[in-house]
Each structure stands twice: as C-alpha cells, then as structure tokens.
Symmetry: C2
Subunit: 429 residues, 2 copies
C-alpha cells in the first residue's frame, strides 16, 4: 500500500457530487484497499459556498474552480458540473496541470469527446466517464473492455429514465402524455423544464457516446437523428397492444450498409412485449447489445440519481487510482475504425402507419399502389370503417427511412387519404 | 502500433477453443488495432492431433501441452481445457515461463483461485477469467472494476443454462423434471451425464467465484452450500404460481451477520414473477446485483456456448494484450476483506412449506405451535382438505435456515403430520 494519498478534487457538489464526497469518506478504507493508496478529498468547487454541506470540511470548499484545477498537486479531478462550459475548459486545464479526469458529463463527451481524449493522451492522463451513460449501469467498461474481442453490431437502449417513466405510465394506465408527464414532474422524475428528456436530447448524447465506443469510431451529437416522444398518444399504445408490442423511447446504434458505416438515432418505437427491453419499468434504464460472438446481452439498472451515478463515478475513481499507483493509464479512445455515419434516410427498419381514409371501395388499392411504387413491401393491413370514415393500419416489411418518407409524402397527396394519424418505427425483432 | 506480435498459445481446441482460434484469424486486424499489437497463434495443444481443424495450421498443433507452455516465448496462454488437472499445472507452468493466462475454467478458479492468483502475482503476470462465469455476460469485470467504488451486498444469479432451460420448460408446459430433462438432452442443452448441472456443482463453482469478487474476500467451492434441482416437481410449480412466483435454480451470495461474514449457496427457490430474474427464459443466464449506491443491476445474456464463451475469452485476451503493450498488469486478486464464510444455518430467508396432514381439528394449532417454539414467524397458512387427508401450505417470514430445520424436524415427529411434501426457499423480495 502506497502511503501518500491520491489527491482528488471535486468540481460540483450537487446531488451526485455530495454523494461522491460522502462515499469517499464513509468507504475510505475500502477504497484505499482497492486502489492500493488512500484517497484524499483535496478541494471542492461549488457555485454557492454558503450552503451547508454535511461531512465536507468548509476549508476545502471554493468558488474558484479554475484555481483549484491549476493547483498542480491534484491526482484526479472529478467533474460533475455538467454542461459544456466551464466543464470543458476545467477538464483540459486539469490535464495540463497533471491530473486525470473522471467525468459524468454526457453532453460534453458527446460533443467534444475526441478533443478531450486527445488532450488526455497528450498529457498522458486518463479520461473515464462511465457515469455519463445510464447512471450506475456498467456499460462503457463492458463495451470498451469486455467486448473488445467481439464485433458489436447493434446497441438498443432505454437510456432516459424520465421518458421511460412517462411511457410506462401511459402503457399501464392508459393515461395521455400530458397526464403522465404531470405525474412524473410531481414525483420528481421530470424536471420543471423537461425538454432535454422528452425531446430526446439527453438520450441522443448517450447514443453518440455508445455508438462511438461500440463501433470504435467517432460519433458526435450532431450525427444522431433525434425525435422526441411528446407526440406519442394513448391511441398509439392501443395500436401497439394490438401488435403485441409496447412503445419505448429507444437509442439505437447500428452498423449499416454491410458494416461500412454506422447510424445512431433516438425516437419512440414499438417493440414486441417478448423483447427484454419491453419489461423495463418505471425510471429504470436498460441497454441491449447484439454482437457477433456474444449474441444478445442486456444491462439493466437505475439510470440516474445521486447514489447510482456516484457508484459509477467511484468505480472510475478506483480504476484511475489503480492506474496511477501502477504508473500506467487505461485504454484511451478507440476510434481506429473511422466509419462514416449514415443519414437517417439510410436506416432500414419496419413501420407501423395509421391512416384516416375515406370509407369507399378502391382506397386500399390506391394506398397499396403507393407503397409498391416506392418499393416498400407491406406485411399486414387492417381496415376499420365507421360512418363514412375509415382507418387503415399498415405494417411494413423492412425498408429504408427514405423510402418510407417517400411513401408518406405520396399518401398525403391522395384525395382519399384524409390524414396520416401516426407513423411509428417497429424495432427489436 | 507495436510490430512484434503477441504470441498466444491455446490449450484445448474444442467448442470454445476452435471459436477463439477462428476469431483470432478473422478479426486479426481489429484485435491488433484494439490491443496496439498484432496477435499470433503460436501453438495449439490438443488431445486428438489427427482431427481436422479448419483454419488452423497443422504445424501449430501439438499433443504436448507441457512443452508448449514451457517454450518461453509465449506472451499469453489461453486455457480452455477445463477441469482441475492438467489445467492447474499448465497454468502455473505458463506463469513460471513468462506468460499471462486467460482461463475459462470455473472449477479450477473456484477450487484454487487464491493459489493461481498468488502464482500470477509472484511472476508479475495477469490472470483473467471472465469466461468462467456466465459465458459472454460481462460480470467479473463489472464487479471487479465498475463496482469497485461501491459496496455489493447481494448477488443473485441464474448461472446455469441447462437447469434454467429445464425449469423454464416445467414452468411453461407443466412437464415433470424427467420429461423436461429428456427434452434438454435431445436439444443438446443437457449433457449425457447431467449431474454437474442438475445437482448444482457447476452453479456452485460460479457462486464461489462471484462471492469472492463481489465481497473482496476468498470463497472456495467447499464453502458453497449446494442443493440440486432434481426434486422440483410440477406440484412445486403449481404452488409457486399460487404465490405469484416461479422457480429458478439460484446462486446466491450475500453479506450476513451485519456484513461481518458472507454466505454463498445454490438451490432451487421461488422468486416473484415481478422480479427481473423471473423472466429469464430458456438457456439464458442473468445475474442480479444489489449494492449500496448503485442499487439493483442486472446482467443478462447467453451463459454458455462456443461463440459466447469465446467472446469473453477474447475480451480478456485484448485486456491482457493491452497490459502487455503498456508494460503493466491488471488488477489482481482483491481479498483484503478476508471475511469468514458463514454456514447455511445462518442464512436468513423466507420458506414455503407444504405438509400432508390429518384432516381433523387442532392440526393447524399443533403445527403453528411448532413454528412458534422455534421462533419462526408465519406469514400465511392455507389449508385444503380432501378425503380425511389435508394439505397445509405455510409461508414464513424471514428466519434462519437453522431455525427452519428445527421446525421441519419437529413437524416430522407430529402424529398428525403425515409428511413434509416440499420445502422451498422464497427469494428476491
């Protein structure tokens, strides 16, 4: 056991940071035994210095995060501020002044992961960020290390607890979106401004990180196609049930075009009830991984919250600490495959389309002709008539998103099609 | 990229070994990019040298495994022979002659893990064995690294695919044990001699490995309480259904006695249908982990088979290869906690007991008195009478296994109790 402690600075002391500080104190002996050296909290940068922080020596607290990371005696900087700036500058400054970094910052990693990895490598430091995706669930390390000898073909994940809570509530109670969101807000699962969650921004950042690691390439946030789940209706859930499906907001990262490119997208989708992701309830997260040799794997657990996220941060802290004690660094960025990211139009999947149509002979023939003209093959059609109006539910075989968009555009031009009530992708088959 | 290749010897070339060799060839460029050095298959030790092995240069094949591991130029030895000897001697010889080792050998790790870890450390080599537990599912690395900053309290796993296939079949079709076993054998899920699986030996070895890693202590195969699943009946499944449960063969590792000791056990148990492990179907494996900070996590995937096991072996191969390129070793054994292993009598859980009793007044009072005298509190009792005979189903609150054994012994002595039809532990609540 090394006797000189590893000095750790904490940037941010909110829900996650305070839990990290707490566990560093209460589990100090365990952490020391596992790392091979004691860890010492050397400074805590906060915005509000006057707030009482139980168990943290007030002498360690500072509002000057920049001065803290420039001290030069830090071994590890833990960044749990979130957002792009000042987090980005603080992390690169930490590398420049000799510290390795553990971060929980999905937005920053998704936007600037390559630059941060390059900075870490330039200074011979570690950059770990298990907590940035799916909270406590070990995902980045399994993908980056356990599956390093395998070829991952697809990652399909529920990576946002807020939206899963809302969709699960809609599924189990028949509630509409607004009603379910209100309950999520009341219970603290949704923030006052839920945009980042319900519009899929949070999930898209995680999709970018997962795709990059899974396929050993670079995928930026801008590369990820994103559709929120605010327009999912109770009627969509009823349609899903008829199909033996439920609806989840999925982050989907796939190899495309014979493996020569990749795609990453976030949108609501129907998945069969028999799929392991279908039974992921409440605010839980789960990520399903398909690879050549391992086959189908799933990782499940709490995707957010102070303690779960702190668990992931501390796992990284131990890993980085061990590396420091051993005089080494962990695996850096693996982006050697350098695969292009294809656009959403090239994604191939199945579709469930609900149309409001005129209830008269020949409509189905017209609609079917449109699908055929665009090369989209129909799996099933169900027709229901009422009072001169009818609805037509079409489920397709696999087709490209571009072809499906062409179909929808053409359908809207038909006189007999009153409206396209909903279009939902069908995944997980 | 280092140009001198890492030399890898393969001990065993059966279902797993041949798949490892195949992927080393087909994915050579990927492996080289991920490790930072090419890998070269330098020798393959087999028992039957005449068998045709597609894709393997016959010049590499030898029957003299000992000479192979003594060559002195090997970087990594992959042991996929299984069993205790000659695997144990070959692994220690490999360390002595300068190679790190990747093993899939659960029996050996469970029996002699401490000695093998010591030998690896003595020679400054790596010993990795992700494939020894639950095939392709990343488990050892997440427990050993991702959760290294957390405190794991319980590991609850379905770690044997053969028995899960049989129990799932019994559950879904109402088949008896023998019928379900016959189907498992016919489909290749059970071996001709299924003893190691159905009597729980295989699961017990995995429980020993998981408990040791989860609790940072040493747990040997002999420390694991073991009950097979050959006596589970269709009637037990009917009882489980009435409780809203199913039956799984579980490997359970827990902290006991306020965390001052640990227990490890394998036995069939009822678990609620709402528990994530209840929906693990067919030959799949899944391991549920409960920890202080992360909460409840689950890892799911194929627990056996050539390709999935090869995926885990190759993940370790990449990790060990990276360590070699970086001039370091990975985390060794972490057994600093040195917790004693408590006996089965000290395990505390709930019980479901079916009794055949005389159908006359006062029986329930007699039975309830026996439970009370042994300090075992009853949760529910259900009584069913038919033709002078009756059955009594008792579900207890949490009690020690020793207390429950005392209850059962006393019940057997009652005149009014004709027999104890079944005793099943209830877990996962």
């Amino acid at each position: 056991m090394r006797t000189r402690p590893l000095k750790v600075a904490l940037l941010g002391c909110g829900v996650v940071g305070s839990e990290v500080a707490r566990i560093m104190t209460t589990h100090a002996a365990d952490l020391a035994a596992r790392i091979g050296a004691p860890v010492e909290l050397a400074g805590v940068a906060v915005r509000r210095p006057d707030k009482v922080r139980e168990g943290i020596d007030p002498a360690l607290v500072t509002t000057d995060a920049t001065a803290l990371v420039k001290r030069g005696d830090l071994d590890i900087v833990v960044e749990v501020i979130g957002g792009i700036e000042p987090a980005r500058t603080l992390i690169t400054t930490a590398f420049e002044h000799g510290a390795s970094v553990v971060s929980a910052n999905k937005a920053l990693l998704a936007q600037d992961g390559a630059a941060l990895h390059a900075a870490a490598e330039e200074h011979g430091k570690d950059l770990y960020y298990e907590a940035s995706v799916a909270g406590a669930i070990p995902l980045i390390r399994p993908l980056r290390e356990s599956l390093a000898g395998d070829k991952v073909n697809r990652v399909l994940g529920i990576v946002n607890g807020t939206t899963n809570f809302i969709l699960d509530k809609m599924d189990s109670t028949g509630a509409g979106y607004q009603e379910a969101l209100d309950e999520a807000t009341a219970l603290g699962y949704a923030e006052a401004d839920p945009t980042a969650d319900v519009e899929g921004f949070d999930a898209a950042a995680k999709a970018a990180i997962l795709a990059g690691i899974a396929f050993h390439t670079r995928v930026r946030l801008d590369d990820v196609y994103r559709e929120g789940m605010t327009e999912v209706t109770a009627a969509d859930f009823a349609s899903a049930k008829e199909m033996g499906c439920t609806i989840k907001l999925l982050a989907i990262c796939e190899r495309a075009g014979d493996g020569a490119s990749v795609t990453a997208r976030v949108h609501p989708a129907m998945i069969p009830l028999s799929h392991p992701l279908a039974s992921v309830r409440g605010a839980y997260n789960a990520v399903f991984v398909e690879s050549d040799a391992a086959g189908q794997l799933m990782f499940y657990g709490p995707g957010a919250g102070g303690a779960p996220t702190a668990s992931a941060v501390l796992g990284d802290l131990v890993a980085v600490g061990r590396n420091l004690v051993g005089g080494t660094t962990g695996p850096g960025e693996s982006a050697y495959a350098a695969l292009p990211v294809s656009s959403m139009g090239e994604v191939v999947t199945r579709y469930h389309i609900s149309l409001d149509v005129a209830d008269k002979p020949g409509v189905l023939a017209q609609v079917a002709t449109v699908f055929a003209e665009h090369g989209v093959s129909i799996d099933t059609v169900r027709q229901q008539g009422k009072d001169g109006e009818a609805s037509l539910v079409v489920v397709t075989h696999r087709a490209s998103d571009a072809a499906l968009s062409g179909v929808v555009e053409a359908l809207r031009k038909l006189d007999t099609v009153r409206g396209v009530a909903s279009i939902m992708r069908v995944e997980g088959e």
